[in-house]
Symmetry: C2
Subunit: 500 residues, 2 copies
């Protein structure tokens, strides 16, 4: 185990008339002896306390050490403990986990909604708000959110946030810009230039984090405005970069992000898939939380609709995986045509409504709740699923391989957590890869950050990965534009291409 | 010329659809191309401004670069100019010079009295004050003094102190501890352990310096509590460390500091010589400023006394070099015996007084001023000159060579500036080296700091020198104790040892 921070016990030799080394060099020499070739740094504030600290403890003290790439640095001289957090900054949620760095134990997990939601649900709205003068506010909101998550995690374990001496952040390029209070002005305009790719380690004070102010904060680098640190972290945690044969990593949140590659090459593509699977697609859409319909079955004969909800609660909306199943079941039961239009059996089942808002399928109709899937909702969904499939086609064909040649398909994020791969394939959203090749990865970005906390050698891997990545813009790709219309049908105009 | 900071003009390529590097990496790449293998750092504050700075200037900007050992760092992105100061922190004076780092020109020199004088004239008094709770005050006084010197230098050249992006400090170990706000508690007690030897580069904000807050501040390392950075700087500026044959460097201020060595080895000795030559030795003693008697001649026959003063002003006291000449002339004219006692010719010349304060020699007796050299003053001087000579004996003999084998003798500080080497030798203060072997070095500590400003390769030399130095405590040396009494005579009980 080579964690990014850890506590070491030091007992430098006592000064004598023949060993007159200064306190600083005495301490650092004993530290160097212990950790090998690294020559650690120590800040001036620690030096001011060091003489009395050493002499009050008979020259036996604990030091928390941070490994920051080529150098090591003392982060604390007072505690035997060392804690750190891994944080994934999502557009919608901030997720974090707390680690005891000396045992390697993951103590807890927590998440809260990204407080920037008050300024807009999607990245584009927030970028525009920032460009209109709200950049400082968005930074402040985000940092307060991060501080809140850390505070919650610490409170649950009776720790003061100052006990946290390490933090690793992953997030998309825009969220990380907000975190660092970087201007986002040039990200949405050609040629989409971020302020920085790889800032490495920063001080908690640089961004107002409430933790040990001398602590070590690492920010995953991006490989461009649309290839964020969350993707790099996902490549790390999936292990894609170690595979011999080409594999795929899909992470669909607000954007569809696709990585195809292996240990020899990596190509990343991204496009605004629309908030297809994060609840934003329809009036009745919602995130995958309590009360969300997450699975649907429709009897092929009676057209009776049964569903399950998260937490077995009363239904209050439908989440991404529920939406995929609903469309797949409606199509399989003959209630939806290949263009996504409601057809006769819907009416026969007494579930079709038509009013000023257009046609709709009544999914829930109880005294407490009425949920109607509108044809505009279906249309939005069709565009999302078409974008998804066309993106996969472009990415995979651009490297000259077929879907069937992909050994593993890692599926992360909201999309991966609850999806029924066969139903998604049945409507042509993904190829027919079959369950055994699909590996749900959960929050692969957070997992990557967690892995780095416990294995600092990954820093080199990250640099290596960033250097390997080539990027393919999908939304403006001519091939994407050609493939997209054909994917606007269920399952596809050409079922040959669906082979997994 | 490889200065420690400099300004470079950068014109990174404009972003294009095929060159999407982030602003940070774009800037640093162009900087790396310019300066070679160094990969420079850039702080987060600069990154926040970088996008608009680049675009408002069509990607042509100036960067001030600081070279900090193994790394380079951007210190400013806004100015074409780069200024730096070299500062020698003496117990009595703070001396500084201002450089234009782009031309290498030394623009000005300034000095002020060390404001810590209000807390005690000597280092020991101030250390005790610090240990009694006045450490923070002593730190503040010193930093305010440094800020004042920098401010004065800047004001004379219509510069704001924020235009100063670099600073190099040299001073004795205790002064540097005060500068850094380090506790001095362990310096005066066995085994004399400083807080740090080599802290290298720090931030101006670490100690409250008023200059570019992103600037680079280097502090000369010490090689122990009694081998300060001022000595290291003196070794640098004298060039002692490059000599093939053994040479000597003497710097006598409050302490007598002696370096003997060459390019292969260096031995430093230090002892409290007493403030023999900085004005503190007698009631009529003063620093070498306007009105100080700096040279004395006594007619061997008539015993008429003539003297010269600094600035040709009315005499108000006597400085170190004047004192040496006065004693040498008194002895040569037969007015002082070998033990330093006033003898008959003094009385015959009508210059001997005897009163409640003992005997005295009337040096000046005009209506405006009466200056009397007391026998207690002579005794103090005799002890200082004996300590000086015994120290030289111990240092040189301990490395197994004779005074005559020393190729060059560098003489720095107040002692070196005005001294008549032959007269000093005539009373046995130094061996009879002759003028051609004595090289006055002026403020060798400040000069060393100035040289580093303009030649960063000296950083390696400094580390090398620190590694070579062995230290010899003189005051507690048994050999010193044996030699000291014999040197309490004019010129010496054994004139053989005076051979230079």
């Amino acid at each position: 185990m080579e964690p990014i921070i850890r506590t070491v016990s030091l007992s430098p030799a006592l000064p004598t008339p023949t060993d007159k080394r200064a306190d600083r060099e005495r301490l650092l020499d004993s530290l160097s002896d212990m950790i090998g070739a690294f020559h650690p740094d120590i800040g001036i504030d620690f030096l001011r306390e060091l003489p009395s600290l050493l002499r009050n403890n008979n020259f036996s003290i604990s030091a928390t050490l941070g490994y920051e790439g080529n150098k090591a640095r003392i982060l604390s001289l007072k505690a035997d403990e060392a804690y750190a957090v891994a944080v994934d900054i999502g557009t919608t949620n901030i997720a974090a986990s707390l680690f005891d760095m000396n045992t390697g134990e993951k103590l807890d997990y927590g998440e809260i909604e990204n407080p920037q939601m008050s300024e807009g649900a999607d990245v584009l709205t927030r970028m525009h708000a920032a460009m209109g003068g709200k950049g400082a506010k968005l930074h402040r909101l985000l940092v307060e959110g991060v501080n809140k998550v850390i505070e919650n995690l610490c409170a649950a374990h009776s720790l003061h946030p100052s006990a946290v001496s390490g933090a690793v952040f992953a997030g998309n390029t825009i969220m990380i810009h907000f975190l660092l209070d970087f201007p986002v002005h040039n990200i949405p305009v050609e040629p989409y230039i971020p302020v920085a790719h790889n800032i490495g380690f920063i001080s908690p004070c640089d961004i107002g984090l409430r933790m040990n102010p001398q602590g070590s904060v690492y920010v995953f680098p991006n490989a461009g405005s649309y290839v964020g640190g969350d993707i790099i972290a996902g490549i790390i945690s999936s292990g894609l970069y170690t595979e011999e044969q080409p594999c795929l990593l899909i992470d669909v949140g607000t954007n569809a992000e696709i990585v195809v590659g292996c240990r020899d090459w990596l190509m990343v593509g991204a496009g605004a898939a629309g908030p297809a699977l994060e609840g934003g697609i329809s009036a009745i859409g919602m995130r995958a939380v309590d009360g969300a319909i997450s699975g649907v079955t429709i009897d092929r004969r009676t057209h009776e609709v049964t569903f399950r909800t998260i937490g077995n609660s009363e239904p209050i909306g439908i989440c991404g995986s529920g939406m995929i199943e609903l469309v797949a079941e409606l199509y399989a039961a003959g209630m939806l045509d290949e263009k996504g239009g409601f057809v006769t059996p819907c009416a026969a089942a007494g579930r079709l409504v038509e009013d000023g808002a257009g046609r709709g399928f009544v999914l829930v109709d109880s005294p407490e709740k009425r949920l109607v899937l509108r044809d505009t909702d279906i249309n939005n969904f069709m565009r999302s699923k078409a974008a998804m499939f066309a993106s996969l086609q472009v990415m995979v064909s651009s490297v000259g391989i077929a879907f069937s040649e992909l050994e593993k398909v890692f599926v992360g994020g909201a999309f991966g957590s609850g999806i029924d791969a066969e139903k998604a394939a049945s409507i042509g959203m993904i190829p027919g890869w079959g369950k055994q090749r699909i590996h749900p990865t959960g929050n692969s970005s957070l997992r990557g950050a967690e892995m780095l906390l416990m294995d600092r050698k990954l820093l080199l891997t990250i640099d290596h990965i960033c250097g390997m990545i080539t990027y393919r813009e999908l939304n403006t790709d001519g091939e994407f534009m050609r493939q997209f219309p054909a994917a606007l049908f269920i399952p596809h105009t050409n079922q040959e291409v669906l082979k997994g």
